[in-house]
Symmetry: C2
Subunit: 176 residues, 2 copies
């Protein structure tokens, strides 16, 4: 499968969640067995020899890719969740969204100092969500080897918020 073929599996939904936003819908990708397999195989190949301890997936779509990737790598999976969802003691970071403001949490005991971490989400937009997650990982002493996303909206310049990190994206959009 080529990048263009992978991109063709992503559905473009205009004016979602608000007018003027072209939503890149990965549900059409993950329901396609070959496309989903290609994404997970590619990420597995990329991280196989990197001694990853934990994959951190960002709620909710990051759980789909992150769960599969952690399983393939034989490592653990940690969810970064919206407030009120994680039942034990948490740390929290707030951030601005493309449309709104919210925060994310991690369980305080989820990461051990020195754990080798890959953060995964479906989408890199303005970078706020991923930056908040990366901040929490650093606070807990984790080592972020890379941030992986399926889709990057390059025109929103999310990488500028994430200059200290390696970022790997599979499909890019350079305009709405």
């Amino acid at each position: 499968m080529t990048t263009d073929q992978l991109k063709s599996k992503i559905r473009n939904v205009p004016d979602f969640p608000i007018k003027g936003i072209m939503f890149r819908d990965i549900t059409t990708l993950v329901k396609d067995p070959a496309a989903f397999k290609y994404v997970i195989d590619t990420l597995t190949e990329r991280y196989r020899d990197r001694k990853i301890d934990q994959i951190i997936g960002i709620e909710s779509r990051g759980f789909i890719f992150g769960g599969a990737l952690a399983h393939r790598l034989g490592c653990g999976f940690i969810p970064a969740r919206k407030p009120g969802k994680l039942p034990a003691e948490t740390i929290e970071e707030s951030y601005e969204l493309e449309y709104g403001r919210t925060s994310l949490q991690l369980h305080i005991d989820s990461i051990k100092k020195g754990d080798r971490i890959v953060i995964i989400d479906d989408l890199l937009a303005t970078g706020g969500t991923i930056r908040a997650t990366a901040n929490m990982v650093e606070r807990l002493g984790g080592e972020i080897l890379e941030i992986a996303v399926v889709v990057e909206l390059t025109f929103l310049k999310g990488r500028e918020k994430l200059k200290n990190y390696n970022i790997y994206s599979m499909v890019e959009y350079d305009s709405e």
Copy 2:
């Protein structure tokens, strides 16, 4: 790994999300590589020869297990999501929670008539969430081969809401 060993990986958090509820926390299971692998290997073995077309995972913890299982089976993954999250045309079913009331949605074009489906979630409690998901799958013409959960709270009698379906649970709790 035995069922008791698997159960020991689930954290018990009293009084979450409200007083009197003992929350069964699977984040400690999925961050344990051996326990997470055991769950996905067991489910893969169970469904390997059943010609599954799609795994439906229920938001959000069902995405972690469902993404991994769909990948292992080489089939597609479909998210059942809370209202306002799926960008294209949806159908919806509402249901009562253990604490509250809400609804779930599926994309109308996610399932083809006759698709062979396994529904997966982390937890079977009162059965409302899973029943709503099963209703949507039926409305779209899918064939539900089985409903799989990691944890079943048998004392909440969720199976009584799901009498027409095969249900497979890996760990049971018969009281709070």
